[in-house]
Symmetry: C2
Subunit: 358 residues, 2 copies
Amino acid sequence: MTLLLTNEDADEILTMNECIDALEGAYRDISRGIATPGGRSVMVSETGQGDGVYALKMLGGIVPSLGVGAIRINSDILTWPESGGGMRRVKLPKAPGGRWVGLVLLFDITTGEPLAIFPDGVVQRMRVAGTSALGVKYMAREDATIAALIGSGWQAGSQVPALCAVRDIKLIRCFSPNAARRQAFCQEMAAKTGVEMIPAPSAEAAVRGADIVLCATNSVGNVLYRDWIGPGAHITAIRDGEIAPAAIAAADIVVIHHPANLSADHIDAPEGLTIPDQSREATSRDELKDLSGAPVLADVIIGKAAGRNSDADLTCFLNYHGLGFQFAAAGAAFFRKARAEGRGRELPTEWFTEDVHP
Amino acid sequence: MTLLLTNEDADEILTMNECIDALEGAYRDISRGIATPGGRSVMVSETGQGDGVYALKMLGGIVPSLGVGAIRINSDILTWPESGGGMRRVKLPKAPGGRWVGLVLLFDITTGEPLAIFPDGVVQRMRVAGTSALGVKYMAREDATIAALIGSGWQAGSQVPALCAVRDIKLIRCFSPNAARRQAFCQEMAAKTGVEMIPAPSAEAAVRGADIVLCATNSVGNVLYRDWIGPGAHITAIRDGEIAPAAIAAADIVVIHHPANLSADHIDAPEGLTIPDQSREATSRDELKDLSGAPVLADVIIGKAAGRNSDADLTCFLNYHGLGFQFAAAGAAFFRKARAEGRGRELPTEWFTEDVHP
């Protein structure tokens, strides 16, 4: 049977520690050359409705030690409204019932069969946050206790428990443009994690003096600047462009997620279609192209590259453009626990297989 | 609702003419720059079982004029046995029930929602054969009546009706290594199409004197050679390497499917893993790299490039490494007809959508 799972299943049974452990194992496999980080492709077109852009995205990857491959699909209607003084990327929930479309399909590498199908929402943010947490684990100071979080949305909500899983955090200062939203977010996260959360009046106020700075926004522009950060800090971002190039340049150690992510060749759009995200990314990629030789997180995790040389280092982990093997890793942990606990809806595997040589 | 369809549905309701028409419209969109041909990624690893290689493949593409995007996934256990004097690529049916795993997901570009999910088998060979047929339609001589077919497997089975849809074919000579198989195939195809089919004792015997030569094999090596073909013929292949480089070089006009397919950057394998297909493809790609500027089928279809200048031209269409927009086109035709005829199993779209911003 193929297991159909939900975001609620993932939220209820997959713990952040399990997710981080699965990701860490997968990164070790990547370093050893046995895992396949996977391809990435983004196709865009007009929607035919005049509002926004249609984007069809696919990631894939294989983690042999977990026995799975995964493909993650996003079928999005994208817009870029101005908000809070900057441009944000917003996905419109246009599917029936006002819903979004993101899917993960998990496959068994010994039989090829589809093991599970589930929406990507919860697992997607857990693997992003879990990867940021691995950056913190291997790069931040051991004695880091004060963190800043820029963003209070879906991704930010997973960064807090992930951070707390790897460092003994006492205080998190959070900024996002909407005061009511950041206030509510801090209350919610404090209740969930038991860590003190303070809404900050500006990004700068949140960041100054913090040991760890997490950017987790949908912003198209920079949200973290050089002047706010000092020696000993660890900074990280989940989107290309969140950290101003000068801040990245100031870091003593910059670690990237994967070199494939520095190339722009994975976007496939008709000429003439304006994609704000892409044009911005292209610019910042140009400025940052000397990062192509930067150490990757996988090598830091196995000790092949240094994540930090001294307590005075300013360290930076660029956790953007994730790869499919992260979904294979987190998906395997989720699927196995769901199977063990009898979760999910069993669908006939024959629905998704065939009796002809394809 | 999301429609779950089967290979039987496709076989029974999607006609070759409908498939060719949908593909032709999509190629016109490609020429006009409004369709997105789409990305392609192949990830491979060991299977953990010692037999063969696990390959996870994804294609995607968008055809705005049909309002759909598609992703096609293959989750294969690959082996390369020796057979009939050559090496063939064979996908092992290891999924429960001895089945293969190939899936197409079709999405609505105005809402993002998944419209349909179906196995790829029948649609996949119909879009390959339909594309070969478009090559014949725009490149072969109008008065072509005698064809040669090398191969008698799954792909070959669709090439015969596709060819007969675009030219008034009187005779097809078919060769494949197994005499009993090619005999049975000829009987089956003759009954299906009403065209005379003759099993040939060798590939050369099938090819000599033919107006059109179709290669539709799983062979890793060359199956069609320069000396067998003369002026006025049209030759085509569905796999890189089927046509010997000298035969391609001899053609007056060579048309390729898409320039993206001449690059090798879409294969992602751990070091040390032996992939016979890849090593062979890399070699032939090197030999053929001057094809990067060759005209593409889409431009031939809209008349921007010539498919043939005279009846004496030897023409060649290289129909390999298909792209996702073919699945969007053929899938749209299939889905609409299935919906109109009340075919398929309706699954709740909520199973494949979510209420969180992914």
